[in-house]
Amino acid sequence: MIETFHFGRRAALLAGVAAIAFAYVVPASAQTPKDTVVMAKQIDDIISMDPGESFEFSGSEAVTNIYDRLIRFDLADVSKLYGSLAESWSVGADGKTYTIKLKPGIKFHSGNPVTSEDVVYSFTRAVTLNKSPGFILTQFGFNKDNVKDRIKAVDATTVTMTVEKPFAPTFFYYCLTSTVASILDSKLVKANEKDGDFGNAWLKTNSAGSGPYKLVSWKASESYTLQANDAWFRGKPANKRVVVRHVSEPASQRLLLEKGDVDFARNLTKDQLEAIRKNDAVQVMQGRKGSILYLGLNQKNANLKKPEVREALKWLTDYDALEANIVRGTYVQHQAFLPVGFLGALSDRPYKYDVAKAKALLAKAGLADGFSVTMDTRNNSPIIDIAQALQAQWGKAGVKLEIIPGDGRQTLTKYRARNHDIYIGAWGPDYQDPHTNAETFAINENNAEDAKSKTLAWRNAWDIPEMTKKTSALVLEKDAKKREAGYLEIQKEHQKTSPFVIMFQQVEVVAHRKGVEGFILGPSFDNNFYYNIAKK
C-alpha cells in the first residue's frame, strides 16, 4: 500500500516535470517578424561577399542587393539599358573611349558621396585583383599596369574608360551591368586594406556599397543577413531585414515554408512544388533564368565525331517526355545556345523524338546496330534522372548508354580534362551579353591540349576555325541589329552541326507565403531583387 502510494507520488511528480518541460519546448510563435523577410535556400556555394570576387549564383544575388552599378538593363526587355548610378554614357568616334557621367547627390551607406574617384577605384580594384569574374573587365584590354591610364576621373562626376579595340558598344555596356562592375565606397575600403589586398579580406564578410541593403553578417554555409538602407537613392526598401538561411535539404525547406517559419523556399523539387499547390497559404512564382541544360559530345570519341551520330542523338532525345516527367516547372525546352532573354536568342526547336530518323542516320554512319558510350553524370536530381531517361530513349536505336555517376566537382574535373565521352550539365551565362555563351559554345581558338582558352567547344574537342572567326567578329559589330542577325545565323548552324545537344533553359521557381509579395526575379541570379518584398 505504502509502496504503491510512493510510486504514485513519484509518477505524478515525473509527469508534472515532463508537462512543464513540454510546455517549455513548444515554440513561442511560428510567424516570422513582420518587417523581416526570411528565406530558406542552398547557399553553400558562396565563397565571398566581395563584388570583385563573388561569381557564384547565391553570392551574386546577395551582392546585387548591396551594391549599385553604373547601368542596368530593363528586366522586361533586356535590349533597354537605363542609368543606375550613371546619368549618361556615350562612346567617342574612335569607338574606344567611353564617357560616363554620374548622377549627383547619391551617397554610400557610410554617408560618403558617390564620386568618380569611387568608380575609378572600383574598376582598378577588380582589374588588379583579377579574381574569377575579373575577365569580364579584362577582356576589354584592361590590366593592372594600364588601368590607371585607361580608366580616369575627369572631374568629380565624370569618368572616361578607354578599351583596347572598337568593341560593339552593347558588349561593353552589358558587361558594366555585371556583379564585378559594382561601385564600392573607396574611402571605406581603403581604410580596411591590408598588405595591398584592396580590402579583399575585409570585404569577404563586410560591405561598402550604396545599394538597397548593407551586409550585417555572412556565415559560410549557414546564413547571411541584410539590413535595409533607408536612404537608398531609388527609395526606401519595403522591408527592414532579409535573412537567408542555408537549408540544404529541400524537404526541410518545404516544411519550414508550410509552417510559416520562412517566407520563401528557393530550392523545392518538382514533386514538392506539385504537393504544395494544395496549400492555400503558399504560392509559387517563376522567372526564366539563363542557365542551359545540354549534353557535350567529346569529339575525341571516334563514334561521336561522326556528324551523323551527333545529329542522330539530337533526334533520339525525347524532349517532350523529359519535360513532362522530370523537369516540368523548373526547365522549359530550348535548343539554341543563347537563352531566351538575350539579344539574338534563337527560339526555333527543330528537333523532336524520331527513332526512325535517328536509326537511318546511324546506319549512314556505319553504326546500324548502335554503339556503346559513357556519360559522366552528376549524382543529383534532375541530372541523374534525365540521364536514366536518355538511357532508355537511346536504347531504342541500339545506343547503349552507360552512366558514370559522380559528385559535381568530380565529373567537372573529368570534363575539364576532356576525359569524358558525354557530359551532361548546365551552363549559365557569365554576363548579360550574347558573347558570353557564343564564346564558350562557338569559339575554339586552339584545339591543342595546352590551349590557353578552354571553352566548352574546346572541352569537347570541337575544332571550328571558321565558326570561331565568325563569332569573334561579332564582338566588334557596332550595329546592334546586324549583331543580332549574326548571332541568329551562328546559332542555326550550331544547331545543325555542333556536338552539343541543347535541351532546356532553366526556370527559377520560388515558393512563398501568400501575402509576402514583391520579390523581383530577373533573367539571372544577379538580377533577383529583395527591395520590393512586403508583407501584408
Binding site: 513540454f22 517549455y24 519546448v25 513548444v26 515554440p27 513561442a28 511560428a30 516570422t32 517578424p33 523581416t36 526570411v38 530558406a40 553553400d44 565563397i47 565571398s48 561569381f55 557564384e56 583579377n130 579574381k131 574569377s132 569574374p133 575579373g134 575577365f135 569577404k204 550585417v216 553578417s217 556565415k219 559560410a220 554555409s221 549557414e222 546564413s223 543577413t225 535573412v243 538561411r245 542555408h246 537549408v247 540544404s248 535539404e249 524537404a251 526541410s252 516544411l255 519550414l256 508550410e258 509552417k259 517559419d261 559528385d407 559535381g408 566537382r409 568530380q410 567537372l412 574535373t413 573529368k414 575539364r416 557569365d430 590557353k452 582558352s453 578552354k454
Partner: protein, 339 residues
C-alpha cells in the same frame, strides 16, 4: 621512483598521441589527393580564365611533389597554422571553432537523452528478462538501429514540427532570436543561460530537442542493449544473492548494487557513442539544417578542400583521444580498484 615511472608513462602517452596524429594526417592527406576532384575548382569556380586558374594552383602549392606538400603542411601545423579553407576562405581553425559548438550542443543533449532513457530501459529489460518489458525494449532498440536516421528525422519533423507544432523546425535558432546574445562558448544553450536570456534559451532548446532526440534514439538503442547484457551478467553473481539474503529491497539490489558494478564498462560504451556523435552526423545535420562539424567536413571533402578536411580530422582525433583519456580518469573515480 614513482615520479620516474610517471614521467616515463607521460612520455609514452605523448609519443603515442603524436604518432596517432601523424598517421591520421598522412592517411587523410593521401586520400584527399587520390580523390579525383580538382581542388583549384573549389577556389576559383568553373568559369575562371586559364591564368587565374594557374595562379591559384601555384598559390595552393599544387605544383610541388606530394611529399613536399605534406611536409609543408606538417611544419605549418606544428606552428599552429592550419591554413585557410578554400571553400569558406576563413582560417580553418576559425571555421572549426564556429561549427564545433553546434555539434557539441547537439551531441551532448543527444547523449543525455540516450543515457537517461537507455540505462533504465536496459535495467528494466534485464530484470524482466524474457517478459514483455524485455520484448518492448528489444523491439525499440531494434527499430532504433534499423531505421535510417535521415528518414526518422524527416518523419520526426513532419509529426512533431509540422503537424503537432510541439517543437521548432530545422535550424539552430529562430530568426528573431539570432545574434541577440554574445557568443562566449558558441553553445547557444550555455551562452543564453550565462547571460540570463531565457527566451533565447527556450528557442534554442525547442530547436535542439528534436534532432537530439533522433540522434539520442540511436545511442539509446545501443546503450540499452549493452546495459541489459551487463546487468544480466551481474544479476547472476553471488554478491547479489547475498544482498537479497540480507533482506535488502529488490530496488536497492538492482539499482544500487548491480547497476553500480555495471557503470564501469558502461562508461566506455557511453563515451564511445558520445565520441561518435561529436564527429558530427552529416545526415541529421542536413535534415535539420544544423551547421555542424559533419556537414563541414563532408562539404570540404567533396570540394577537395584539404586544409579544412585535415583540420576537421585533427579535431575528430582530438575528440577521440580526449574522450579516451577522460574515460580513463573517470574509471579511476568510479572503480576503486583501478588506482
Amino acid at each position: 621512483m614513482t615520479a620516474m615511472s610517471f614521467a616515463r608513462s607521460g612520455v609514452r602517452v605523448v609519443f603515442t598521441v603524436a604518432l596517432t596524429f601523424l598517421g591520421l594526417l598522412l592517411v587523410t592527406f593521401l586520400i584527399g589527393r587520390v580523390v579525383p576532384i580538382d581542388p583549384v575548382l573549389a577556389a576559383v569556380g568553373d568559369r575562371a580564365p586559364a591564368e587565374v586558374y594557374e595562379r591559384v594552383r601555384l598559390e595552393l602549392g599544387l605544383d610541388k611533389p606530394l611529399w613536399e606538400q605534406f611536409w609543408i603542411y606538417l611544419t605549418k601545423v606544428l606552428t599552429g597554422d592550419f591554413g585557410s579553407s578554400v571553400l569558406t576562405s576563413n582560417k580553418v581553425i576559425d571555421d572549426i571553432f564556429r561549427v564545433f559548438p553546434a555539434t557539441l550542443e547537439l551531441a551532448t543533449v543527444a547523449t543525455l537523452i540516450g543515457v537517461s532513457v537507455g540505462i533504465p530501459a536496459g535495467v528494466i529489460a534485464a530484470v524482466n528478462q524474457g517478459k514483455w518489458q524485455d520484448q518492448v525494449v528489444r523491439v525499440l532498440g531494434l527499430v532504433g538501429y534499423s531505421i535510417p536516421v535521415f528518414w526518422l528525422g524527416l518523419m520526426g519533423l513532419l509529426l512533431f514540427y509540422a503537424k503537432l507544432g510541439l517543437v521548432a523546425g530545422p535550424g539552430r535558432q529562430g530568426v528573431a532570436f539570432e545574434d541577440l546574445i554574445e557568443p562566449i562558448t558558441g553553445v547557444v544553450l550555455l551562452d543564453s543561460a550565462i547571460q540570463g536570456e531565457w527566451e533565447v534559451f527556450r528557442d534554442a532548446f525547442s530547436h535542439v530537442i528534436l534532432p537530439a532526440a533522433v540522434l539520442g534514439y540511436f545511442s539509446l538503442a545501443y546503450i540499452s542493449r549493452m546495459t541489459r547484457s551487463f546487468m544480466i551478467e551481474q544479476l547472476r553473481q553471488e554478491y547479489i544473492v547475498t544482498a537479497r539474503v540480507k533482506g535488502l529491497s529488490e530496488r536497492r539490489v538492482v539499482w544500487r548494487h548491480a547497476l553500480g558494478n555495471v557503470l564501469v564498462p558502461l562508461l566506455t560504451v557511453i563515451a564511445l557513442s558520445y565520441a561518435n556523435l561529436l564527429e558530427g552526423s552529416v545526415l541529421t545535420e542536413t535534415v535539420f539544417a544544423w551547421p555542424g562539424l559533419g556537414q563541414y567536413i563532408t562539404n570540404s571533402l567533396l570540394s577537395a578542400d584539404m586544409n579544412a578536411v585535415l583540420g576537421g580530422t585533427i579535431m575528430v582525433g582530438v575528440i577521440f583521444i580526449g574522450i579516451n583519456m577522460l574515460t580513463d580518469v573517470l574509471y579511476r573515480l568510479v572503480d576503486p580498484r583501478a588506482k
